[in-house]
């Protein structure tokens, strides 16, 4: 694993794109920045006031053994690795479909994955992660934030955490080689935020009460209404009302 450290850049995912394009990244690589001025996946630029408090990085991996119809498993692997990492420190870690990590009702991390496909297989994946570590003041409009430090009343060394987390993600990506998709999906579902609990959701058409009963191997969220009716959604078609 190669590491690139930057004091500041607009988005680690953008740099990953550029370096991939010019052939500068040909092996698994981590790009770590102390803060991002336009962190992708975050709608604002307030990170600057809390320079160096959080883990914001991108990781480029090459899961070329993975068929492109299994692309959602990259997201599963990363979510499980993050959950596993956080569970060393706190309880109640949940994966909020499709790409956030929660502790209780509070958001601690966001994931943004950009995949590139070549033929029937994946070529590379750029995994962008923002994980709140030492921050205690939040000015961002992202709802319900929490940090590891707030949960444990401790301060952390970011570099140390980065190495441990990156290692965990890499392990989980390698695990995908076993093609044991059913087991991974089960583990993923067992950690889902609001799994099997009736809650309010908002789709394009309406607001309704339903419970999550499954996430399919293609990443669709399956909800069931009290009437028994089952509905399927993809990213962006459905919103949790918290």
């Amino acid at each position: 694993m190669k590491f690139i450290f930057k004091d500041s850049l607009d988005s680690t995912n953008n740099l990953a794109h550029e370096l991939l394009e010019i052939g500068e990244i040909i092996e698994p690589t981590v790009i770590f920045s102390h803060f991002q001025t336009v962190g992708k996946g975050y709608a604002n630029n307030f990170w600057e006031s809390e320079t160096g408090k959080n883990l914001t990085f991108s990781m480029v991996v090459f899961p070329r053994f993975l068929e492109s119809n299994h692309v959602f498993f990259v997201s599963i692997a990363v979510s499980l690795a993050l959950a596993d990492f956080l569970e060393q420190y706190v309880d109640n870690v949940k994966i909020k479909w499709p790409n956030d990590i929660y502790v209780g009702n509070f958001k601690i991390a966001g994931i943004l994955i950009e995949n590139s496909v070549l033929g029937n297989f994946l070529e590379h994946s750029i995994i962008g992660i923002g994980l709140n570590i030492n921050q205690v003041k939040f000015k961002s409009p992202a709802p319900n934030p929490i940090s590891l430090s707030q949960l444990t009343q401790k301060n952390y060394n970011l570099n140390e955490l980065l190495y441990v987390l990156v290692e965990k993600i890499q392990q989980k990506i390698i695990e995908l080689k076993t093609q044991n998709f059913e087991l991974l999906l089960q583990e993923y579902c067992s950690k889902l935020f609001r799994y099997n609990e009736f809650c309010m959701y908002k789709s394009e058409k309406s607001t309704f009460e339903a419970k999550i009963i499954n996430v399919t191997e293609y990443g669709f969220l399956q909800l069931q209404k009290k009437s028994g009716e089952i509905m399927k959604f993809t990213f962006k078609e459905i919103e949790f009302l918290i």
Binding site: V90, G104, F106, K137, F138, P145, Q150, L151
Partner: protein, 133 residues
């Protein structure tokens, strides 16, 4: 008088540990809704912070019954009382509830009900998941 109550939470600490944690104002920065508050200051006797869109809140502890009840008096645009109630469930598990009583006229209620409810819910929900010892 309008009452805002959290649901009853189950906290994996003894009543004593929680009581000690919640009577220390410095711990409240991690309990409040982080995206809604700013200008947090805590001393031994006073807690103050701004809540969007309600303005400045200032709190002090006015009564406490050891390991069972904490009562804080709050000053903001309106006066209110904040209570934390603890009931031991087992030696290491405690039930916790947060409550705010506020004097609100109908207009204030319209503006303040949601943020105040969010405040009591967040304190209770975070008390349930954060490490206190």
């Amino acid at each position: 008088m309008t009452t805002f109550e959290s649901t009853v939470k189950t906290v994996n600490y003894s009543d004593k540990t929680i009581f000690q944690f919640l009577t220390n104002f410095k711990n409240y920065e991690n309990l409040l809704p982080a995206d809604k508050i700013s200008h947090f200051t805590a001393t031994d006797t006073n807690l103050s912070f701004s809540v969007k869109p309600l303005g400045r809140f200032s709190l002090k502890i006015v009564a406490q019954e050891e390991f069972k009840k904490i009562k804080m008096q709050g000053e903001a645009k309106v006066n209110f009382d904040l209570y934390v109630d603890l009931i031991p469930f087992t030696e290491q598990i405690t039930k916790l509830k947060v409550k705010i009583d506020a004097d609100l006229n109908p207009f204030e209620k319209m503006i303040a009900a949601k943020p105040i409810q969010n405040l009591v819910d967040t304190i209770a929900e975070k008390a349930e998941i954060i490490k206190m010892a």
